[in-house]
Assembly symmetry: C2
Homo-oligomer: 208 residues x 2
């Protein structure tokens, strides 16, 4: 039974990680997995694992643990990975082209349908199989292609402007790589990947 309790955001991150661990164990041909095994792999407490899963249902059998195939499917459902997601990427610079070429997204069901750039030299060309469009076409293509997720890989100064374009085009979620905080309407989900921030974090711990 699915609880109405508020689910901590970090539980979702852990769910993704359980999914990874299950993948690894699957290759080792186990059939069942216990919460303490998942917990051990991730350096967390075993009741944390059970709590996380219990937010979404009763997937285990007392005395037996969790059936791996079943659990993987359940997590896949919870995370919304049973369907394909249509993604657009804005900014075909160094990072943008690296992400276009990155194979990992496809496997998880994230398909980059279109890329956008404001550099005429890049427009109309394909990059790693994805067509690069003029950014002025953003709204029409995102609507026509029913794209729901946008990835921002442009320099910081233009990031807010592009975020506005994306939300006006009806995008539902944004993954922002520009090292700047951007504002979006509250019905749009925003996730920031700030690379300098991560290095600064390491720097802090090294300086102590």
């Amino acid at each position: 039974m699915v609880k109405k309790t508020k689910i901590p955001e970090i539980t979702i991150t852990r769910l993704s990680n359980y999914f990874r661990v299950l993948d690894e164990f699957k290759r080792r041909e186990f059939y069942n997995i216990a919460s303490y095994q998942l917990a051990e792999e991730m350096d967390i407490n075993d009741s944390q694992v059970r709590k996380d899963l219990a937010y979404f249902g009763q997937f285990g059998k007392p005395g037996m643990g969790y059936e791996m195939t079943r659990l993987k499917e359940e997590i896949q459902k919870i995370l919304g990975l049973t369907r394909k997601w249509r993604v657009a990427l804005v900014g075909v610079g160094n990072l943008g082209s690296a992400l276009l070429a990155y194979k990992g997204f496809q496997g998880q069901g994230f398909h980059i349908i279109a890329a956008f750039d404001s550099d005429p030299k890049k427009m109309g060309k394909k990059w790693a199989g994805t067509v690069v469009y003029d950014i002025t076409e953003l709204k029409s293509i995102i609507r026509k292609e029913r794209i729901e997720i946008g990835i921002i890989t442009i320099p910081a100064p233009a990031a807010q402007e592009v975020a506005n374009l994306l939300t006006k085009a009806g995008i539902k979620a944004i993954l922002n790589f520009a090292p700047v905080r951007i504002a979006v309407p509250k019905n749009v989900r925003l996730s920031n990947v700030d690379l300098s921030l991560r290095l600064e974090n390491l720097s802090f711990f090294l300086s102590r």
Copy 2:
């Protein structure tokens, strides 16, 4: 006075963000900034800002707020950004070369001194000003160059192996982009940037 209280990790992340906000305000030529202004920009509570800063000292003046130049310097000190950090990058693929070309790190004091790859076609060449070495030279170069931070941008299967090489070479912190959990000795600081995980997170919220 610096407290001995345990500092929440998320405080460090917020510190980086305060730093960003200060940069923006500075361009607008303000002299002082109050906790409620920083808080507003970041959509958090103003006493959160004061608490975060109070872990490290008393930087503000009641009735006046925080002197911006001073506060920026203090945060810089706290985060260890007053010195240069010597960084190595392993894996000059799509993502690796994008990061080598990324200018943002330099500005924050993170200098990528050396890159490593196992592909002979890449070795000996320069990429965005950084020499790419044979990965077999990793240990000697990291020691010779006194490199303290390693960035892993290779495919998942080899990530653990490279992490081992890095720690054996004496690296103190690792920024891992491979979509796999890696284990490091506890005296080595590890930070994971898992791009699929972030997309999965968005996917979860879009599916609700």
